[in-house]
Amino acid sequence: MTATTPAGVSTAVESPPGGGWLSVLAYWMAVYKRVWKGTIISSFLAPLAYLAGMGIGLGSLIDSGERTAVEGVPYLAFVATGLLAAQAMQTGVGEATFPVMGAIKWHHTYEAMLATPLRVQDLVRGHVVYAAIRVATTVGVFAIVSIALGALSGWGVLGAVVFAILGGLAFAMPVYFYSCRVRSEQGYNVLSRFVIMPLFLFSGTFFPISQLPAWLEALAWVSPLTHAGALTRAAALGPGSPFVLDLGGYLLHIAYLLLWAVGGYLLGVRALRSRMGA
């Protein structure tokens, strides 16, 4: 048996300043670098499958003869702009659910982070920026493919992407708040089936909400996705379409989305602080 000498451990004398939210973002990007392959299907292929299946296939039934879903707009373009916003919602929600529960409950990542000079708001801020980057990439790729397929065209698409990101955050932040409160995975099943799924179907992604009964149409306007969709359509389909918005319209929709995003952020910070007991 040979004796081993423990190596000396030097203890820091000066206190480091703390990495701030940037170091939290760096953590999530490092995690993403490891798992990004697993997200290709849900982030990139699934929305394209919907675009092809609904836009092209169903579109051929809808756009027959003189008839189109919405006057002057091919169904494919209608669905593409809707899916742009819907995809932002899905990605935003996705990044604000299991990764957050994992960091709080399973891997104790947040506990470890808070043992350093990082503050609760750094954790939330880092996550918002990370979610925004994730939303931007998925929506960006979707937009490029839509252009390649001829579903969308013009510089307006760029504006639509920006609005979609805002819409994504309008979901990610309130859901982040929810994640700080929820105790078990069952909470996510409920969220996905009772909230996200109905919003996906009834916020004007696949058909104009004017087709809905009046009370349901009114309810659909509560959904941030309806507003995000109105913005992406106004930007991408341009002034020639029935979706055109004036400046006031733009501001109103943007303000509504900001309300959800900022409100969700503020509640998220508070909820995480009380959850982590700090």
Partner: protein, 304 residues
Amino acid sequence: MIKAVGLRKSFGDFTAVDGIDVEVAPGESFGFLGPNGAGKTSTMKIIGCTSPASGGTIRILGMDPASQASKIKARLGVVPQEDALDADLTVFENLLVYGRYFGLPRATVRARAEELLEFAQLVDKRDEIVEKLSGGMKRRLTIARGLINTPQIVLLDEPTTGLDPQARHILWDRLFRLKREGVTLVLTTHYMDEAEQLCDRLVVMDKGRIVAEGSPRALIAEHASREVLELRFDVADHAERAADVEGIGARVEVLADRLLLYVENGDVALEQVTARGVHPMSSLVRRASLEDVFLRLTGRSLIE
């Protein structure tokens, strides 16, 4: 109860169990002692009929696992290393559902489960989801679960690993009761104190082989001295001080942080050390244990 001859288990090129002979008598409490990777768990899985042997023969309750696995399993109680409790169920439901896996009638299982809750001291946790239990409670529940079919042999793989001292003592007390009721216990452990407490007879395993066999007391008598004197010095490498105490007692072992002197009388030996002008930073006299037996037999510590 169990008889194995030349038992082997290999996974590809790696041999986990390398030809061991074991015999366990009815009512006996039998232990496999050894460090992680010695082949204890592999042996337990063969006995539990969830892993076929690669060679040799084994009979459990007179039956061959290769052909009568279900019949053997019906009479075994298994307490796996990782509890593998059903996290979706309550404490009581864990017992109930497991009993149903044996095809036992619901009423029988219910009655037995109530009894076992009592035995495992979990009556007030009856309707809790298992996630909320402490480590010691989970372990007791796992043992209770393994007893649901009133087994003739209970297999316990590392029964107290990871538990705090108090939880371990409660658990040992429960296992003692089983032993008194005449249940045959077969357990693995890498804790010496556990083996000394629980086993009538044990085998020491190392690298898939049996290196010694006997009762804990007999093994200590045979492979160690009566007492051990532990010396600590303020040096980085204790090997440099070994020569200073050479010849006092039967043997000197050099560990990373201390020297072990195998002696008949520790206090006398300490006087001899001081008489040589050697002054350790601290010293301790204790009785020899299975740890010393293992060190002697393999040249390595059990917990590495």
